[in-house]
Structures are given as structure tokens and as C-alpha cells.
């Protein structure tokens, strides 16, 4: 038997904008109103009309104190909601992602969590491929179907504030200091960041080493080779 087709479009499509395909009588038949009427003994089933609300006798309508001269539109308060970017269905905690831009282009990286700003929190792990805990935009990422078990990793302490640059106070330069070459203020990575990296990575590494070849996979970079067609590749 031919399979039953589920309804795809409107029952009465537009032939030309403004002109429908079927007449009123045809539509009456198509909607099955004749069948509904037959089911209910010749009459179309109706709801009883709701009784009109009785006017309150105790409080008579008072005349308003103020009549505005012009018609003023009533504005409705619309609370603005800022949601983080919608996460692609293929990206779940523990997914291996391929970074497509930036210093770590081509690196395969583990996805940890989406931050409230919408950016993705990822880590190399650092020992495996040199990618630290960093934020990455979803648009610059290919999600593979490989997942790492991330249940033992705690990522609750990372948020967008963790990653903002620290403000360095600029002291006013005197004339003498102006001509001195700016001493290179090397930004040293604070120890707490190194500790955080270690904490996340040790838990992750155990999960990664449980899967054969996964560690070498993460330490290798992705590149397109001859014959690889990205639109036909399964990631």
C-alpha cells in the first residue's frame, strides 16, 4: 500500500495571490463540516453564550479627573531579555571541537561549557596541545561527533569576568620619563590561572587517556588534504 501522506501545505492554496483554488462549497466539503454535522444530528455543535457580566450596582462609574488633550498611546513595558547565543545541537559538554581561526587554528579542543555571554569555554587540554582554558566563538568552530567524558570536571568557577583583561593604571609621564623607552611590561600569567588550568586538565586527561588514540588525536592539528570535500565530510 502507498504510505499515508501527512498534510504538507494549506488545504486551500493560493493559485495567484488573492485567488484561492477551491470555492466555498468545495471547502465546506473538504473541511468535513458535513461529517461533523451528521455526527451531531444535523446541527453544528455550538457552545452556550456566556452570560454578560452584571454591572456592579454598588460602585457607579465615576467621571475621570483628567482628560488628555491629545490621544496618548499606552506604552507597554517590554522587559528586554539578553539570552546567550543559541548553542548548536551538535555541541554538548565534552564535544571535541576544531578551532577554525586564531592562533590555535586547526587545533582539536575539548568543549567545557557555554558562558553567559554566549562564548564557548574550551581547553586543550594544555598539556596535550598547548591550548589553555579560553573562550571561543561558536561561529569559528567545527563540532565533531567525538565526545569526551567530562563529568569529573568542575567548570563552575569560570565565567566571563575571569577572562577580562586586568586594567593597568597609567601613571602620568614626566618629561624625563617620556624619552625613556617604555620598559616592556611583560604580563606574567598569575599563579591562580595556572592552578586552575591544572585542576581542569588532570581530571580531563584521565578521561582522555581512557580512549585509545584520543590523546594523539587531540595533539594533532586538523587540515584539509587532497580530495577532502568539507561539504561531504562527516565530522
Amino acid at each position: 500500500m502507498a504510505p499515508k501522506k501527512t498534510r504538507t501545505g494549506p488545504r486551500n492554496p493560493d493559485l495567484v495571490p488573492g485567488i484561492k483554488k477551491f470555492s466555498r462549497s468545495k471547502m465546506y466539503h473538504k473541511r468535513g463540516l458535513w461529517a461533523i454535522k451528521a455526527k451531531h444530528g444535523g446541527k453544528f455543535p455550538t457552545h452556550d453564550a456566556k452570560p454578560a457580566p452584571q454591572p456592579d450596582v454598588a460602585a457607579p462609574e465615576k467621571a475621570p479627573k483628567f482628560y488628555p488633550a491629545d490621544d496618548v498611546k499606552k506604552t507597554r513595558a517590554k522587559p528586554k531579555k539578553n539570552n546567550p547565543t543559541k548553542l548548536r545541537a551538535s555541541i554538548t559538554p565534552g564535544t571535541v571541537l576544531i578551532l577554525l581561526a586564531g592562533r590555535f587554528m586547526g587545533k582539536r579542543v575539548v568543549f567545557l561549557n557555554q558562558l553567559p555571554s554566549g562564548l564557548l569555554l574550551v581547553t586543550g587540554p594544555f598539556k596535550v596541545n598547548g591550548v589553555p582554558i579560553k573562550r571561543v566563538n561558536q561561529a569559528y568552530v567545527i563540532a565533531t561527533s567525538t565526545k569526551v567524558d567530562i563529568s569529573s570536571v568542575d567548570v563552575s568557577k569560570f565565567d566571563d569576568k575571569y577572562f577580562t583583561k586586568e586594567k593597568t593604571k597609567k601613571a602620568k609621564k614626566t618629561e624625563g620619563e617620556f624619552f625613556k623607552s617604555d620598559e616592556e611590561k611583560k604580563s606574567v600569567l598569575p599563579q591562580y590561572k595556572k592552578d586552575d588550568q591544572k585542576a581542569v586538565d588532570t581530571a580531563l586527561l584521565k578521561a582522555i587517556e581512557a580512549v585509545p588514540d584520543l590523546k594523539t588525536y587531540l595533539s594533532a592539528r586538523f587540515s584539509l588534504r587532497d580530495g577532502m570535500k568539507p561539504h561531504q565530510l562527516v565530522f
Binding site: 567525538t146 594523539t216 565530510l233 562527516v234
Partner: protein, 134 residues
Amino acid sequence: MTFKRFVEIGRVALVNYGKEYGRLVVIVDVVDQNRALIDAPDMVRCQINFKRLSLTDIKIDIPRIPKKKTLIAAMEEADVKNKWEKSSWGRKLIVQQRRASLNDFDRFKVMLARIKRGGVIRQELARLKKENAA
């Protein structure tokens, strides 16, 4: 240069174009010079142009336009599925499909395996060369 695969009732063919691309079907009737009626166990019987078919070596014994039950029974009897999967054409197709469905990690593992295999072959070759030289 004689023809070996004919369009006949019961000829198993592969659809090579269109919505049913890649499906193994059986020719159950000929409509006219250009079209045939085809059928498969999990498909609604339909007509198709011969140009969209690639004939295979397999032929089954069926009457003209058999009922689905008869068709399935005849295909089981002739063991079409196994014959196809054992044939070199069928095996190639299976490999193609497997390669196309590999994910990025799988492709990486395949690369490691090929390098390993190449290494073993080269070692063996070097050993044989040494033996021959000696």
C-alpha cells in the same frame, strides 16, 4: 562484445540517479522502450527510466509484476542480498559508504593505521632485500 546483462523481468539493478539513488531494485515489468516498472522489498513499486538503472549480474525468477510477498520470497530464495554483498561491485560500494561515514576521529585512526601498516611493509621489504643481497 556480446551483451551479457539484459533488461528482463527479474533483473536486479542499481538505481544510479534520482531520489532512490543507490538502491537495489528488481525490474518487474517493462512499460515501453525507455521505462521499466521496478520494485524492492521496502519501496512502493514505481516506474523509472532505463537510463537511471545500472544492471547487475543477478537475476531472480519471478512472474510479471509479482505481489510484494512473492517478490520478497523470490529474493530470499535467490539470496540476492548475500550475492550482492559478496560481488566485487557490492563490496566496493560497501567500502565507499563506510569511508563516507567516517567521522574526524575515525579518519585520524585510519591514518595512524595506514602509517603503521606502511612501516611494517617497509621493514619486511628491507629484511627481504638484505636476505637477497647476502
